[in-house]
């Protein structure tokens, strides 16, 4: 099924949580709403599910206006951040609940629930209570439960937010595989850009109740539409300047800004990963001094001083750093092949 949201608006006690949001999710697509907490992304999801009533705008599911249709009749599967499993029911009863309330017989619904528990890899735990499960297992039960009434679309509200980093990564892979297998239209809400990039066909970046950018993951990362998107989806160096002769000057360095008018105040953003550092001068390289080296796990972070009070951060893969043998105080040369220039607000 497809989702079409038009000019959605939701106000809580005078605070505009969702401000004129329009979006489309095609049948079978996996789309993510990515944004910081409080950006209104969860509210959009809850409006689509029918758990919140929008103050304005319309919601269509499969080209049918469901804005005033009660939640029970929207046929959506909803997965909550804190699982929301029914504490007093076994896993089997939890998964069978959606069929139970629709009057499906006990034998049939238990059979279906068993199949779903198998799908999420929890065969043999039918008689367990939710309290006897780990967080990751609980979330898989919640997903099986949401799928039981055969919903037309799946809405996931920060589903891995309460899990540790390793488990999150594991479940991410598993969820994408599951989506490819059952091909259910899915809308995910998350604040984790890795999650959004790894899972989605398309990402919508949300900020202050509005959609800032809508694109494929790669494009969001490489061509952020705004300064907010650029800073939200990854670490950045940020410098400010004025556009002169088609570029912004920062110390001796020049960043091309042909899309901006002369004299505009602009901010330049580039990722530490995109800074290229060499020990020997290469064409287009600018000299600088390494002021500090910090170990970050897979990468090393170099603080490089270009001129007095002009520092930038570069992230170098550990192997490369080891081969180059960078030391604090050493003179190096930097190049920034990829930078984003935005007009300052």
């Amino acid at each position: 099924m497809s989702i079409q949201v038009k000019k959605l608006k939701k106000i809580f006690n005078g605070f505009t949580a969702v401000d004129d949001v329009s979006l489309i999710v095609d049948d079978g697509e996996f789309v993510t709403l990515l944004g910081p907490s409080g950006s209104g992304k969860s509210t959009v999801l809850r409006c689509i599910a029918g758990l919140e009533a929008p103050d304005n705008g319309s919601i269509e599911i499969n080209n049918e206006d469901v804005t005033r249709v009660p939640v029970q009749e929207r046929r959506v599967g909803f997965v909550f951040q804190h699982y929301a499993l029914f504490r007093h029911m076994t896993l089997l009863e939890n998964v069978a609940f959606g069929l139970n309330v629709r009057g499906v017989g006990k034998k049939e619904r238990n059979e279906k629930a068993r199949d779903l528990l198998q799908l999420v890899g929890l065969t043999g735990l039918e008689k367990r209570m939710p309290s006897q499960l780990s967080g990751g297992q609980r979330q898989r039960v919640a997903l099986a439960r949401a799928l039981a009434p055969q919903p037309g679309l799946l809405l996931l509200d920060e589903p891995f937010g309460a899990l540790d980093a390793r488990l999150r990564k594991e479940l991410r892979v598993w969820l994408r595989e599951l989506h490819d297998r059952i091909n259910l239209t899915t809308l995910l809400v998350t604040h984790d850009q890795d999650e959004a990039f790894e899972l989605s066909d398309r990402v919508l970046v949300v900020n202050k109740g509005r959609i800032e950018q809508e694109a494929e993951p790669q494009k969001i990362f490489d061509e952020p539409a705004s300064e907010f998107v650029a800073t939200f989806v990854g670490e950045t160096n940020r410098v400010e300047g004025t556009v002169q002769e088609g570029s912004v000057a920062w110390g001796p360095m020049r960043f091309k800004a042909v899309h901006l008018k002369e004299g505009t105040k602009a901010s330049v953003l580039f990722r530490p990963n995109d800074v290229y550092v060499t020990s020997h001068r290469e064409k287009g390289g600018w000299p600088g001094i390494i002021r500090s080296i910090q170990f970050l796990g897979a990468t090393e972070s170099l603080e490089i001083e270009i001129e007095k009070d002009l520092n930038l951060t570069a992230h170098i893969p550990k192997g490369v750093a080891a081969l180059s043998g960078f030391t604090v105080g050493e003179q190096v040369y930097v190049m920034v092949p990829m930078a984003h220039v935005f007009a300052s607000k």
Binding site: G50, Q72, F78, F80, F86, G98, N100, R145
Partner: protein, 271 residues
Amino acid sequence: MNNTITEKPYVRYTLIFLSLTFLALFLVVPLITIFAEAFQKGWGLYLTSITEPAAMAAIRLTLLTAAIAVPVNLVFGIVAAWAIAKFEFFGKRFLITLIELPFTVSPVISGLIFVLLFGAQGVFGKWLADHDIQIIFAVPGIVLATLFITFPYVARELIPLMQAQGNEQEEAALTLGASGWQTFWKVTLPNIRWALLYGVILLNARAMGEFGAVSVVSGHIRGLTNTIPLHVEILYNEYNFVAAFAMASLLALLALVTLIAKNWIEWKKGE
């Protein structure tokens, strides 16, 4: 035990001794006295005392009052707790305070409120007299006063629990296609069942044992408007100690059963 984090032995033993002595003097001794006095003249008189017509009438009235107060306040308690825990509305804090009112007002005042409302000189007194309805000095007054006094028990148990549990499970049930009614019976009620039972046990004990408010509205008509506590007072004032303590022993027994039930529920809740 680590000496750096605990009191000196003599402090510990003094505190334990003091609290146990206090407990024995003020709780255990009176309890034993009730039963000792009640059985002073043997089983025969005890049984006669609690089966004579006026005593049976008092027991019946007490059971009737509880039979009305418990289900009514059970329903109102759930409704009030639901409204407070699950919705945001104007005047919510005021409502929470109001629910506690019967606890903070002296029971005698609570009874007096009903006399002022429904008594012969009361606000609705004339209208009630014209329609030949008697509330004060009759069973309806006793039931109303008891309802008022026992209103907070269930709501007070449920509000913090329901607030802590939040709405997520109910929302999940709704997205799975459950109606509001199904959600209540299959999700909300099972989640609050132990707290609910706990509230009901306390509510029942108070409904049967209430003296002050009921005393004001009752009129003390023997065999008609006396509950067990009121009957105990009348017998005592007549120096009929065996009968008075026999009736009192019924309430003491109720208290013991309540305590055991309360502990059992707490243990189940913790499970």
